[in-house]
């Protein structure tokens, strides 16, 4: 839509330079409106195809699945009010009051249709794999079976039956994921290829509806009066009047009082400090690590060399001196501290002895490595991405390896897509890598290094590790699952298949009038659905 330039605007500008223009401020008095900026416009609001943070943020505010994440990251009932989860199947009972924003109830058929659509090869959903625990999903995505063969059916309008391909202990975390959201068939089919392309083309069943979307410029979410839990939603509206990836601009908008919250990059931290804003740190849920190349012929395929590197690397020093972002934690394991085990954090239920830096032991390992590799150690190739953070990390490791071990590190900085291509083809010795969780369960990290997982870019293979992951994937018994994954993680770390560096953290600022904002490690983040605005505040 071309921008409208009101004829009166010029006169206004010339006569009243101090007037605070703009419709947002002139909204009806007492309306509780939260304003934020977005880094980009949501690329994909069709839930069967959404993969990125921004789209999932929007979907988390306008949609609701069978389950969702609560304040503490626990799984809470969503459209389903209760369920029975077994080894072979699960039954979900949908709540009577769950409604679409245009009136009709959300039924079990809406889930059946959505899931079939997501695994249909014609949809070409990148996240079809997340439905693979459902019977026949993989065969359908591979074109071997029709979409109708998917192991999900509506016993009646309010009962959804799911048949599993294999026992899936983390299924309730999966049903909170975007790909599992419901879609109403008549609405979807009425917009061939255009579902969710604009605000009127998206049907909601969540706390808000997307009422306005000016591409690239702004989005408006209005409270959904038909949402079953609408009493818990106190905001009248969420406005996104600005979309830009420029972090300095967004910070300026916050400072100017135009938005209520924003994340801070490393460059904005000192500014916010000087401006005396209250900063809040939180954990983003991601794990970061050095991924070694284990392909034959690579120096990093040598265990002693990897051990030597681990013995000189100090995650605590790395996080405080190099990353310097509050909320970031030293990486000591594959599975981050926030992930739950059976009842408590996984790392507390399965403690590990920390590895302490030890220069003498490191040099002994290096000597062994040199002997096994035939006397000389070639320079190591460090593959990393663009950006100042990636450079700082690379230079730190370069300095560390050269000063402590006399190793040479060559840095290969690549754009995102090129780096992915080189990771897949194995053109690296060490790559600075990370993983953002898809669901709140250790398995989202644990199966990464199974030999069949294509995200295992270093091609590390360990039969015992594979067997343990299979074991954890073969049962819904929480204790057995957690034990198997803990044992697998121990093997991974003993073998230094990867070297954990940090657990992602970030900092944000929030207007003092806003409370009840929840930060999640997985799914919708930040979560403003139950945010509150103080009475009488601007």
């Amino acid at each position: 839509m071309p921008p409208r330039i009101p004829a009166a605007a010029l006169a206004l500008l010339l006569s009243v330079p101090g007037c605070s223009g703009g419709g947002a401020d002139a909204a009806r008095p007492g309306a509780k409106v939260l304003r934020i900026a977005m880094s980009e416009e949501p690329p994909q609001l069709d839930s069967t195809r959404a993969t990125d943070q921004v789209s999932i943020f929007v979907l988390g505010h306008v949609m609701e699945g069978l389950t969702r994440y609560g304040r503490a990251g626990e799984i809470v009932p969503g459209v389903a009010e209760r369920w029975e989860l077994g080894d072979r199947k699960a039954v979900f009972h949908l709540r009577e009051r769950a409604r679409w924003s245009d009136g009709p109830p959300v039924t079990a058929h809406d889930f059946v249709f959505a899931w079939r659509t997501a695994v249909d090869p014609k949809t070409a959903s990148e996240y079809a794999f997340i439905l693979y625990p459902v019977k026949n999903a993989e065969a359908i995505a591979s074109g071997k079976l029709p979409a109708g063969a998917l192991g999900v059916r509506a016993r009646d309008d309010r009962t959804l039956e799911v048949e599993f391909e294999r026992p899936t202990g983390h299924f309730l975390a999966l049903t909170a994921f975007a790909t599992y959201l419901p879609l109403r068939e008549d609405f979807y089919r009425a917009r061939p290829g255009r579902y969710a392309a604009d605000a009127p083309d998206l049907l909601s069943n969540g706390p808000f509806v997307l009422s306005r979307w000016v591409h690239g410029a702004s989005l408006t979410f209005e409270k959904n009066p038909r949402y079953w839990d609408e009493e818990s939603v106190t905001l009248d509206r969420i406005e996104v009047p600005y979309i830009t990836p420029d972090a300095n601009t967004v910070y300026s908008l916050f400072k100017d009082g135009k938005i209520d919250s924003t994340g801070l990059g490393r460059d904005q931290l000192p500014l916010a400090q000087a401006d005396r804003f209250r900063m809040r740190a939180f954990s983003t849920g991601s794990a970061f690590y050095m991924e070694f190349n284990h392909r034959p012929g690579k120096p990093t395929a040598n265990l002693h060399l990897r051990r030597a590197i681990r013995l000189v690397f100090h995650p605590g020093e790395f996080v405080s001196k190099v990353l310097g972002v509050p909320g970031t934690l030293p990486g000591t394991r594959l599975i981050p501290r926030w992930v739950r085990g059976v009842a408590e954090p996984f790392v507390r239920e399965h403690p590990l002895d920390p590895v302490r830096p030890d220069l003498v032991a490191a040099k002994a390992e290096l000597a062994l490595a040199r002997k096994e590799l035939g006397g000389t150690l070639p320079p190591l190739l460090w593959l990393t991405g663009e950006g100042a953070g990636a450079s700082r990390e690379a230079e730190y490791v370069q300095y560390l390896l050269s000063s402590r071990l006399g190793l040479t590190l060559k840095i290969d900085k690549q754009t995102f897509k090129q780096r992915l291509a080189k990771m897949t083809s194995g053109e690296f010795d060490v790559v600075s890598a990370g993983w953002g969780p898809d669901y709140a369960d250790p398995m989202t990290f644990a199966d990464l290094f199974a030999s069949w997982n294509e995200n295992n870019r270093g091609r590390w293979r360990n039969a015992r590790y594979d067997a343990l992951i299979r074991e954890a994937q073969g049962t819904v018994d929480p204790a057995r699952r957690m034990d198997a994954m803990a044992e697998a993680e121990r093997i991974l770390l003993d073998e230094v298949a990867i070297l954990p560096t940090s657990e992602g953290g970030a900092v944000y600022v929030l207007s003092p009038r806003v409370t009840g904002v929840v930060r999640h490690m997985v799914g919708t983040d930040p979560d403003f659905t139950r945010a509150r605005i103080a009475e009488g505040a601007r």
Partner: protein
Amino acid sequence: MIAYTLKRLLAGVVTVFFIATATFALMHAVPGDPLAGAKVRSPEIRANLQARYGLDRPVLVQYAVYMRNMAKGDFGISFTQQNRSVNDIIRQHFPVSAVLGLLALGFATLGGVLLGSLTAQLRGRMTDRTVLFLVVVGISVPSFVFAALAQEGVLLWNAWAGTTVLPVAGWGTFRAMILPALSLGLGTLAFLTRLMRSSLLEIVSQDYVRTARAKGLPGWRIFLFHELRNGILPVITLLGPALASITTGGFVVETVFAIPGLGRYFVQAVQALDYTVIMGLTVFYGAFLVLMVIAVDIAYGWVDPRIRVAKEGGA
């Protein structure tokens, strides 16, 4: 005249064809996979995606299909926004870039002609030197640096005034457009000032100006009807290409001021290897630039018969 116009337009179509072909070839030669994401897709999911975008067919077939669709005016569906056509992206965001570009160019032309005339009149004096110094600064400081500084300044101004004097960022009201247009037009303004000044200085010593002065015409008449009218010609020549370059070159300013212009989509598409958007926008921008150049040539030929005759004779 009509034959000349047709000939130029035909040459333009051929140019655009070559732009499209070269972009297609370069885009496929760039390393990296448009379908690669942070998380590896399994083979069957990859295959489904490739089939959806026709990437499972030989490159030459892809090229043929693409060119045929393009000839029909269909640029295809974006790889990143899978339910949005490239045509929609152009339709919705080019007007924003165009409005911003026109405003910036208007500001640059007005300012350039005014300052150029002023410095030419006051040659060698303090005002002249100060403006010339600022012109050098304006040409050398990139627009995004000025944009960031201007934003910081407005932030301070707003805080001092206790109200919104000018918006820090955003789009939709005229007031929101002022700062971005100034930032974007500053370089061109500086350039046009210098051009205008040198053009006027050359004219001041022409015979007809001396004649006018000898006839005893008042200074303002000489300036308006003899000096300015002729001195402004080089500026007009530059307006077409300047509009194209301002309109297509504003992506950094668009990012800084959170403006939903086309430039941002272009840059994002290149980073994401979004084939259809890269192709669509390159061809569109290419065609726009070619059209601007042709428009200026035709307009110029229409204004100045000598040029038309020379071109027709030469062709």
